[in-house]
Symmetry: C2
Subunit: 236 residues, 2 copies
């Protein structure tokens, strides 16, 4: 199945797989973008991605395209975000695009191609096509999931102190989070577990921090029912 047929009855559309890749760098959340050399949007920044091939799924396609920019193994999480279909989103010709959200742990510093760079999500440069608003969707999704799932495992290093984890949350959420409470919430939910090891205390002294890790490195819902919980089963 290397070719796909089309007819007036079943029109066909070029399809792009795009990725919003996010990473916390220097206490700020950044998105990976590459600078377009050619028109349209020459000089503007675009999401990594490219055409879907005849024999791959969108997920596989995103992985493949991303491999041109970073080592894909470094992506700790990848999920489908949304599909954009405005007929004029690409001025050249109609293209449908499905965006994914990818997350990279903060301890990695993947080598990037010449044209590719990290940009703080709260100060994006001029973006190409509808990519700016797609980054917005990715951000929104990440923020929502940080609060009721364990996704933070995909942004944090493998092992970390609560203070470091707090930085990740603050960078991603964009507001202050108290380390004390963060620790307790995540421990009670069983999201974090102590490694038993300690971090060296800083240059200025201070009690050395205990190191933690995420109990799971697969996304899981940790706070299932925001409300309207099913009736409690226990009798008293």
């Amino acid at each position: 199945m290397t070719s796909v047929w089309s007819s007036p009855e079943r029109p066909a559309f070029p399809h792009q797989a795009l990725a919003v890749v996010l990473q916390v760098r220097g206490a700020r959340l950044h998105a990976m973008l590459w600078r377009r050399a050619k028109e349209p949007f020459a000089g503007a920044w675009a999401l990594p991605g490219g055409p879907l091939r005849p024999d791959e799924t969108l997920g596989a396609s995103v992985g493949r395209q991303l491999a041109a920019k970073v080592e894909v193994a470094q992506l700790a999480h990848l999920e489908q975000l949304e599909t954009r279909s405005d007929p004029h989103r690409d001025p050249r010709s109609r293209t449908v695009a499905t965006a994914y959200l990818g997350l990279i742990p903060g301890d990695l510093d993947p080598a990037l191609p010449e044209d590719t760079a990290w940009h703080p999500v709260d100060a994006l440069p001029e973006t190409a096509f509808d990519h700016g608003s797609i980054v917005g969707s990715g951000l929104e999704r990440l923020r929502a999931k940080l609060s009721y799932t364990n996704v933070a495992f995909a942004l944090a290093p493998p092992t970390f102190s609560v203070a470091e984890l707090r930085e990740v949350y603050v960078a991603a959420l964009g507001y202050e989070v108290a380390a004390t409470n963060l620790q307790r919430v995540l421990l009670r939910r069983g999201v974090l577990e102590p490694t038993g090891e300690m971090a060296a205390s800083g240059r200025a002294g201070g009690r050395p921090a205990a190191l933690y890790r995420f109990a799971t490195t697969t996304i899981e819902v940790t706070d299932p029912f925001a409300v309207l919980k099913p009736p409690s089963t226990r009798r008293r």
Copy 2:
């Protein structure tokens, strides 16, 4: 822009827009499906939908295709769900499909074509393609959103007693919900407002129920931070 070009560099794919349309009927949540007459999957039940046209968005396409089955004005809510891209999801030839979730208020009983019928989501008949699992995704999305948004407006009649609303929640969530608490949660959040009117009391007597309506008929997040709320701004 009535035609779309394709090349080995930019392969094109037929694209379907599908809809998971849900409604509470007789205290059970149902999905709208039509019975396929032709192969493949002759006799199996499929989601309404069809090919994306060259000049429409996916959202518009879903609306148009759905119009062939129900009066679209009856859909109180429609949102994009996900895009399926398995190369073999359609055995005839590769097709990408984007599914939407549509909700119809319980007081309506739209006329359906001959081949189309409602099926309880907890007892679906044999389904075509990957449509069964797409219904599953829709259900999951609905259940999650019932708990932190006001989506229930799209399943409930315009005006209702708390007991009726409770039925909607029970049918959609699949577990018991106490009317007392449901009322208080939704009132406190400002999701419901009293109409001032009363329902006639039933044949067997009983206190007449007060009628309520949803304050908004647009989806809104009503329980924003499951946890990790931003610090409170008020000083004490």
